[in-house]
Assembly symmetry: C2
Homo-oligomer: 203 residues x 2
Amino acid sequence: MAYRRTRLMEERLAGNRERILRATRRLIAEGGFRNAQIAAVAAQAEVSTGTIYRYFPSKAELFVEVLTEAVDHEIEILRDVIAVQTGARAQLEAAVASFVRRALTGPNLAWAFIAEPAEPEVDAERIRGRKRFGDVFKAVLKRGVASGEFPRQDLDAGAACIVGAFTEALVGPIGPSRKTLRDKERLVRAICDFCTRAVSAAA
Amino acid sequence: MAYRRTRLMEERLAGNRERILRATRRLIAEGGFRNAQIAAVAAQAEVSTGTIYRYFPSKAELFVEVLTEAVDHEIEILRDVIAVQTGARAQLEAAVASFVRRALTGPNLAWAFIAEPAEPEVDAERIRGRKRFGDVFKAVLKRGVASGEFPRQDLDAGAACIVGAFTEALVGPIGPSRKTLRDKERLVRAICDFCTRAVSAAA
């Protein structure tokens, strides 16, 4: 009986944690980090603010956890997108296009994860996240250089440049003063073209 | 007499403000924002912490002012660098190279201004700063497209991509876990090549 109660309690605890994270993500998707104050998260998750602080000592730590999970998820998607393409150039294009399209489809979430002014802890996690994205693109560049599709180049610099380029190009289009994009695919194409030309042989 | 005292007082007040900003900048150059706590700034500027708060209601506001002045200064330098070059491609290369070299020469300052985890107010000012840098590069791209040096392209996306690329490529090399670069010019070249190829005609 003691064992069963413990397991039930653990399940309830894990359930609370998940519910808080899901509620936070939903609120961020609706209006960025500033829409996800602890009181709003508590209401959305149907727990007390005290319960939230039991799992996440600060709002910043809650946001960092949501951000880390989002990066995990985006990297999985990038890997899947890359896996079905043949050739480094096609992989690069598909990965950048996928990331940009997803950001334009969920602009509040993307704005929060990429650029919304936030706590220093969130900034630090963003730096780690961009580095992790960079590692994905570095592997693509490496394959492309090995196969001769791309010329020899500084892979670390190139990968960082790619991630910097497509994230910064999104800041205006996903930010709070964004205008409705008449043609999302045109922007997707512009950013993809920039990145693929950048790592290809010069004309 | 009353008039003279007022003028002297104004001069002293302006002097204090300048001294605080200069002290903050020096401390940041030595060790980033985290090296520029209010107590350290007070000691360096030889004023009381109370005096600092009279001019800057919060540390974040002090940092934002230092950052804004730094962006003003860097933009002036970019404009000067661009002014002496003929042709958009040469202007683009010279501007990117100048920015990257300056960052590598003053890595703590560059780290703080570009990426060091900081208050939300600093994040917001960074977004504005990158937009201002983007405007400089957009003008170069526009001239290059007009002259036929560059193919037609989305100027806003291209300018943002350039700024995102060279700033993100610097994050590792100027960050706190940076290694000593054996060949700074190689990195300068890699980043310049990335940016110029990106906006030029495809091979």
